[in-house]
Assembly symmetry: C2
Homo-oligomer: 274 residues x 2
Amino acid sequence: MRHDRHAAIGVFDSGVGGLTVLKALIERLPLESTIYLGDTARIPYGTKSPEMVTKYSLANAQALMEYDLKLLVVACNTASAVALPALEAYLPIPVLGVIGPGAQAAAAATRTGKVAVIGTPGTIASGAYQRALATERAELLVKSHACPLFVPLAEEGWTTGEVPRLVAERYLGQGLLDGGVDTLVLGCTHYPLLSDVIASVAGPEVRLVDSAQATAARVVEVLAAKGLQQTGPGPVERRYLVTDTPTRFLEVGARFLGHPLSGARQVDLVVSAS
Amino acid sequence: MRHDRHAAIGVFDSGVGGLTVLKALIERLPLESTIYLGDTARIPYGTKSPEMVTKYSLANAQALMEYDLKLLVVACNTASAVALPALEAYLPIPVLGVIGPGAQAAAAATRTGKVAVIGTPGTIASGAYQRALATERAELLVKSHACPLFVPLAEEGWTTGEVPRLVAERYLGQGLLDGGVDTLVLGCTHYPLLSDVIASVAGPEVRLVDSAQATAARVVEVLAAKGLQQTGPGPVERRYLVTDTPTRFLEVGARFLGHPLSGARQVDLVVSAS
């Protein structure tokens, strides 16, 4: 393993959601090669236990490390919430989750010091955003709410109209944004697809923080600090790996990435289920 | 293995959904011991490939066969759609899926000969209900639609009010029930929790067929035909196994079973992911 400028950035998620992070990465770093792994055989992580998510994350990292990587992005909030310490212990390259950068951006954005976080049940129950925000600015007031319906809405492509609006009203309307909250963290990689409806329900005084964008910005910083940016022109590779058959990943993934994927290869991971 | 009257009925599903089938079974056969396995580490099956679902189903059956079973119920539409032949080849006891009984009940119920089926993307794409209905009555006209939002609605407990009604209107309102359809098959074990809202959107002229009830009725027939019913009084055991940690299963499961579960034990299955 070279860990040099020419090596690729590895990205994994439980499925298609992390493609919003990959999309932000590609926009900022078009010269970097990328390898994305979607663990579609075990999606979703959000309802599974920390032990299980850690086990799956290590298997994903192991599969990606078969390639020449210089940095790994954990583009899954649930895995970032629970598996980062294990991944950092296991891997010889920098590992970035989506929660630290999201929390950092939110702490910098809020004027009132009141921040709300939405995510999957697993991410919210882990308290990882709450901890990360407290680390950034101890005096912040942080509220949170799990929004499990948002993932299937994004995957169905129901991102406009009455159904997503009512679901967003129900999730955001139970006091989550009361009392001067001015910053709302989209703590799930699926949620950027619903950002229009979420922003409209939250109102103009609430700023949305997209962890995908914050993470991509952080990757740029880390590569620069370590002198690992790809600078010259050269072949840019976009590889996609999945653990289940690729059909649905390619179909839904195009909606997340904003354009069709070049193809995806199914890989075999062996994980004990508990 | 004895395969006698005193052995238990095994039931598996990808998670909590199959508890609607278990509930129907217990109501009809209160003297029978039951062992339920929820493969919560790999839920949901509905978006995964036939190959993967078959592999998971075989691992579930293997774990259940550690116990003394006389019959296995595949209480998962997706697994019933794709894995029954493999399970029947592998197991020395009768295996019943939920699709055959559901199709049989629908074919018997329809007067117009026009039947609609709703289920997960995996179940609908498999065409299994369509085939099973054609086997029952070749002249039936069968329409179908995948309804992925219904599963998280049931698990969230959002079973009444505007959101499930609008979702049901969107799924059922695109011509699915036009042209004289008088029978609607709930082809997913989660859907009985939404049967009130589905029935109200479908209207009084459409009869709902609940595969869980139809399957329980079929289990009674098979046990009777093979002389395997538990007749005398005796200790009735209710065992619950899960592949992820039990917390969420116990919480959501109580809603599906209609009363709290006695507890669930986490078991370890080893499955290759592809």
